[in-house]
Symmetry: D2
Subunit: 264 residues, 4 copies
C-alpha cells in the first residue's frame, strides 16, 4: 500500500526525515501503522532536486529499504530543498526499479500510494491517455507511472492542478463503468522542483491517510506521522488537494467537486 514523505524547505540532509525520526519512513518500511499492509518491503526510492539541474535525481532499488546500506549513506550525504522518499508495497506489478517511486519526467516528479482496481483490465485504457511523445517514458508497468504520464500529457506545465483533476475525472469514469464498479485510491505527491502538490482521493473506497506539518520555512507531507506527537500533524480531508506554491503558505481545496457531485 506504500508509504511516502515529501519535503520542501531549508536545505537539509534527507536523513533528518527518512532515517532518523522515531517513526521514520525506514521504520514504516517494516512496520507501518496506518496502512493496509504493515510491511512495505517491495522496493523504495528517493527523488531530490539540486541546485545545478532542473531535473531531479533518482535512487530506486528493489530490496527493502530497511536493509539498504546505500540508502543510509545517501540520506546522510544528500542535501536538498525539495525531495520525495517512498517505500513500496506492491499491488500486483513486478518488483523492478522501473516500478518503484518516485517517477520523474523532465522537471516533474511524482509518487503515489493507492491503486486502480482491476488494473489488468483498465491498464490499456489508462496507457492510452499517455501522449505518443511521452510514451518512451513508460518504462514500467504500474498504474502509478501510467497515471503520472497521463497527468503530464493533460497539460501539467500550465495547469498542474487542472491536469491532475482531468486525469482523475477520467479514471473515475473508467472505474465506474465496470459492473460492479471498481475501487480506486489515489494519495499522491507532485512537484516541479518549486511548487508542491499533494492529493487525497478515492472512488468507491476510503482514501488512504495523508498528513502535513508546516512551519515558517518548511512543509513536510506524509502518509503517516513521523513521530508520536500527532497533534502537530494536520490530516488532509478525503478528496482534497494540498497546494504549496513556492513562497506561499499551503492551502487545501476540494478535488473534483463538480465531477464527483455529478456522479453522486
Amino acid at each position: 500500500m506504500c508509504r511516502w514523505i515529501a519535503y520542501r524547505g531549508e536545505l537539509t540532509a534527507l536523513e533528518h526525515y527518512v532515517t532518523e525520526p522515531a517513526h521514520s519512513l525506514i521504520s514504516q518500511s517494516i512496520n507501518a501503522l496506518e496502512a493496509t499492509a504493515s510491511v512495505n518491503g517491495d522496493g523504495f526510492g528517493l527523488g531530490w532536486y539540486g541546485n545545478h539541474h532542473p531535473e531531479p535525481g533518482l535512487y530506486r532499488e528493489i530490496r527493502p529499504a530497511w536493509s539498504d546500506e546505500n540508502l543510509r549513506y545517501l540520506c546522510r550525504h544528500l542535501l536538498s530543498r525539495l525531495f520525495f522518499a517512498h517505500v513500496r508495497a506492491a499491488t500486483g506489478t513486478a518488483i523492478t526499479r522501473a516500478n518503484c517511486h518516485p517517477f520523474a519526467c523532465g522537471t516533474w516528479m511524482f509518487m503515489h500510494n493507492g491503486f486502480v482496481g482491476n488494473w489488468s483490465r483498465l491498464r490499456r485504457r489508462v496507457e492510452a491517455l499517455i501522449p505518443d511523445d511521452l510514451y518512451p517514458s513508460r518504462t514500467g508497468t504500474t498504474d502509478s507511472e501510467a497515471i503520472f504520464l497521463a497527468i503530464m500529457g493533460a497539460g501539467i506545465e500550465h495547469h498542474p492542478l487542472a491536469a491532475t483533476e482531468k486525469t482523475l475525472a477520467t479514471l473515475t469514469e473508467f472505474v465506474n463503468q465496470n459492473k460492479p464498479a471498481d475501487r480506486m485510491r489515489f494519495t499522491a505527491a507532485l512537484s516541479n522542483g518549486k511548487d508542491l502538490y499533494a492529493f487525497r482521493y478515492a472512488v468507491n473506497d476510503k482514501a488512504n491517510t495523508l498528513y502535513y506539518r508546516e512551519s515558517a520555512d518548511s512543509i513536510v507531507i506524509v502518509s503517516e506521522p513521523l513521530d508520536a506527537d500527532h497533534k502537530k500533524w494536520i490530516a488532509v480531508p478525503e478528496n482534497h488537494a494540498l497546494i504549496a506554491l513556492a513562497g506561499e503558505r499551503a492551502r487545501i481545496q476540494p478535488l473534483l467537486q463538480v465531477h464527483r457531485e455529478a456522479a453522486e
Copy 2:
C-alpha cells in the same frame, strides 16, 4: 545483441550445454565471437520443460551470467528434455527480470536475439497487436516480449508458423513505412514443449547468425557454435525457419517468401 541456445533430446542436465562446452553460453556472455556486442552481461535466463507440468519453468536474473552461482547450481541439477538458455545484451530497454528471455505464456516459450529499429516509435503499434486477454502477460517493455505476445495472439495454437509469419509480415510493413525505412533483426526460438521452431530473419539489415546440430535423438540450435568443431554445425540461411516437430527430423524452409518478394 544476445546469444542463446535451444535443446531438445534425451533428458540431460543443462550444464552439458550451458556451462561446460569450450565456448559455452556462459563463456559467450563475456566473450561472444559472432555478435555485434562481445559482452552479453545484461541479464540472462533459463526456461525448461519438465515431466509434471505442461508450462515451462523460468529462472531469470539481471546480473551477468558469468558470476551467478545460482545459475551453476541450477544447470547442474536441472534436467530437461527441452530447454532454452539466453544471455542478454540490452538494446535500450531496462535491465529487469521481466525484460530477460526466455518469455513464457501458457505452454509456450520464446526467446529472441535482434531488435526492431526505432523501437520507441514503433512500440505502441506493436503492443497494439497483443490481444486484450494476453495484455496482462505484458510484464516488461522489450520489443521481444511484445513480438512474442503478438505471435501468441495471431493463432499460435493451431498454426505457430503461420502466426509467426503473419506477425513478421506486419513488423516488416511497420519498419518499411518509416522514411528512411528502419532496420529489424529477428533470430528467435519458439516451443510448446514438444515442437521446436527457430527463425533467422532481417529487414533492411543482415540477419544474426543461427546454427544447429542434429543427431539421432537430439537437436541443438545456437546463436554461435559451442565448440571449435565448426563443421558439425549447420548454418541456417537468412530468412529461413528451422522446424523440428516432435518425432521428426528438422527441416528448413523459407520465411515470408511472398511478402518479401512483394516488398522488393
Copy 3:
C-alpha cells in the same frame, strides 16, 4: 530470527511445503507467528539433494522470498527426496547471498535459526575453530556459516552428532566466559543427503521453537507448524536433538547433558 523447513521422504515438488500450505514458509517470510521478528525479508534459500550428484544444489537470493518469481518456478519444478528451505531475518550481518542459508560444504548441508550473542566480539574465536582446509569455504560473515564449518572440522564425517555437540560445548564456554555472560540460540538442521539431524539449543536464553511431523515415509521438521492443525506437530524439547537416520524412525535425545550440567 529466521524460519526454516527440512523435508525427507518420497520424491516431491518443493512447492507442497514451501509455497502451498496455509502457513507456508513463504507466508512466514512476511508474517511469522512464533518468531521474535515477524518479517523474514532479508533473503532466503533452497538447498536440495538430487539423484545425480552427492552434493546438494543451492538457490539463494537477497530479496524477500514473498516477491521472488524465480522461487515460485523452482519450487514448482524442482523435485527432491531431501531438501531445506530458509527465510532470513538478519541479526546484524550483511544481506548477501553468501550470508543466506542453507550452507553447503561437500555433501553436507546446514541451516540455522538463532544467534551467538556479541558476535562481533566472538567472531574471531569461532572462525578460529574452522580448519585451514575448510577456510576457503568461509564465503560469508555470519555466525551460522562459521558454526557449520566448525562442526565440519570437528569430525562430522564419522560422528556428526558428536561434532555438533563438541562445537556447541565450545560455543557455550565462549558465551559464558564473557561478563556478563552472553546469550546464544541454536535451532538448526544438518544433513548429508541421507541422514537428517535437527537441534534445539540455547544458552542463557529460551530456545527457538522446533516442531516435526513424521509419517510412514516422510519427516518434516519446521520452525513453526505449516498449518493450523497443531496437534499433528510434535514440539522438540529445548536442548534436544532430533535424529532421523536413513531408514529409521526419528528419535529425540538430550543435547550436551554433561556439559550443561557441569555449567549449572
Copy 4:
C-alpha cells in the same frame, strides 16, 4: 582486474570524470584497454567526501556500472572535492556489495586494483594482521579489504605511508615464503578526505598501470587515461607512491626500497 579513478580539487560533479569522458570509467567497465580483463562488470562503487561529515559516503552495487541508472543520477547530482570511483573484475571472491570498492573505515577510504596470489592460502595470515577492534569492519572476503584494514591497524592515523609500506613488506614476505613464490599486484588509492595517496607495486609480477594529471587546483589519478590525449597523463613508475598532501604539489617516491633490495 579492476579500473579506478581518484579525484581531488574544486567541487565538481562526479559525472565529469566518471561518465562523460571519451574513455570514462563507465566505458572502461565494458571495454578497458590497458587491463588484463577488458570487462569490469563485477560491481562498482563510488566513495566521496562531503562538507558535513568527516566520513565518506559510499554507493556500491553488484550489477555492472554500464547499466546502472542510479549511478548516472548520482554522478550527475553528487558534488565533491575528493572522490573515488571503481569498477570491479573479480579475481575469485563473491560478487557482493561488501566486496566492492571503495572501502571506508572511519574517515579513511581505500580502493585497489590487483591481487594477492594464492589468496585462499594466505587469507588467514592477512586477516590476522587486522587488529581486534577493526575486525568488525571486515564485512567482505576480498584480499583488498583485508589489506586496507591491515594498513589501518598498522598506524595509518599518524603515518599512512609507513603503515602502507609496513603492510606491503609483510605481504611481500608472505608471497615470497611460498614455494614457488606467489605473485602480488597492488595498485591502490588511499585518502583521509584531505591527503591523497596512490601506490603502484608488484612482487614477482609486472605492476598494474597508474597515471595522473595535475593542474593548479586539481589532481586526477587513474588506472588508465580517460581520453586519447595521452601526453597529458604522467605514468607513475612501478614500485612508487604518489603523495598528494592537502595544499601541496604531488610528489613521487620509491616504495619499500629497503625491503625490496633486501629481497633481491
